[in-house]
Symmetry: D2
Subunit: 165 residues, 4 copies
């Protein structure tokens, strides 16, 4: 099986994810799979990671989890591949490095670090349904052609489709 592949990172809160975050992440996973893209996420069995994984896998897609720890016990159970990096929080940099574009649903400090690293790397970055505080802040540190604010998962995917190589 060869996946030439476009890899899309979906990032967002684990335990503190809202119902909207979960719904958006599930739909993002499904849409990523339907495009034939690969989903990359943080891999834990919680919140946005678990929801995006479920969405992708239910649509017959591929979901790769980049885990912080040294074993796979806390991985989302339906991941296609779970990679236990052993790097702790430095795994966020690996997830972003491996992705062609990144989409965030919801926000917390870990998510903010991934958004920031994606902007640092100049990767196409979408914030889905950001709060006013989130969108105003990241707009001050990113150029408009790299960072997009999307009203929903579908428009996030459309924008990514136009911006990945």
């Amino acid at each position: 099986m060869h996946l030439a592949g476009t890899y899309i990172g979906v990032v967002g809160p684990g335990d503190g994810a809202s119902a909207d975050d979960i719904a958006d992440a599930t739909q993002l996973g499904r849409l990523i799979a339907e495009r034939g893209w690969v989903l990359l996420c943080g891999g834990r069995a919680a919140g946005v990671m678990a929801a995006a994984t479920r969405g992708a896998v239910e649509a017959d897609g591929i979901a790769i989890g980049i885990l912080p720890g040294t074993d796979r016990r806390d991985a989302a159970p339906n991941l296609t591949i779970a990679l236990a990096t052993g790097l702790g929080e430095a795994r966020n940099a690996v997830l972003v490095s491996a992705a062609d574009a990144v989409i965030a649903c919801g926000m917390n400090p870990g998510t903010a670090s991934e958004v920031a690293l994606a902007l640092r790397a100049g990767k196409p970055m979408v914030l889905v349904r950001p709060t006013p505080e989130t969108s105003r802040f990241f707009a001050t540190v990113a150029s408009a052609d790299t960072l997009h604010m999307a009203d929903d998962a579908a428009s996030a995917i459309t924008w990514v489709s136009d911006h990945v190589r």
Copy 2:
């Protein structure tokens, strides 16, 4: 020489640092050294990294640079110790992990990733002279007892002194 040590990370823009960022970083470096603390920074010969290093070293302090690349050619020349990690952007996570508290002067995507990782790790975090957008955003993802907004370098150091173990 034994440095029981409190390690303070100072983070901020390299090439795009403003005059205020440079002035604040220089003063932070000096005040960190005067407290007998160790300065940790990103180590490159630019902007906030170079200014904080100069401030610390001119006050007879210790400045440690955590560099992204595999050699020390682009290190700030007066660093006490320059560590070429070879990790690329994942070195931001190492800098934050090694620090007891983090202070940011100025803002860009790389700096935002370090602020976010510090909040993620629950470390005392100060933003010096943040823009309204910056302070409002990070206030939405951090608790008030972990994140402080400071009007100047001196009050940043006072707050850190009260909050590091």
Copy 3:
């Protein structure tokens, strides 16, 4: 697609791989795929990495490449998934951390680091057709129940099958 999964790292020289190393790696890739396991390798388009990938993919298996750099341009072209970690040589630790067992074909310094990290982590480790110097050295730092010397790829796979959880 859900791959509950056993992940087997295959490591060995890139440019300096011998004809035996290439033949063994190709067969290992095929046998790993036939068992329904996932192949993990260093991902570059050279030597053992490319051969193991080809073997796995030709047998309809999954091959994951853990690349040192920040892009996928130097990845083996038929990898199922190529992850550009951006970590440099620290990616060797990620590959070993993510694997349930590791098999080495051929030897060079990079390969030796992966064998050593696998032994350090207590993972089942097989050396295929090791030189006398290689087998004698690693036998001095590993217990006999963790490290196995195999005469060929097939017996390496049999031993791994008995030793992974």
Copy 4:
């Protein structure tokens, strides 16, 4: 304080270090300090790490510990600087990357990974009092101008002095 600096990594077993390893590491630490070089080590309060640190610090030198975990509780108490990287075993790659040359006393899997990574990076590498198995193996994967076998700590330091830039 400015340390233009040559950084020498000293690696070796922690809990399983022999009396010879401890004596060699202590002397290496002292000789590194007397040359005005900086000692880099794995930083834990055990074996070769603790002994090299003690030797360097008692000779008024600088000892930097590159720790695997996220806090400094298990650091050798007299380190000049203890950096808690949070990277787990990937910290071995950071230690080697940051060093100009590496010296090993004693051997175990973790030490072997550091020796191998140093050879991979083409750094001057000395094995002090290697077993026949160790010296024969590493001689098969390294060139004679990069790898040296030393009978004692003093001759290791002399060879390093001739081979670091």
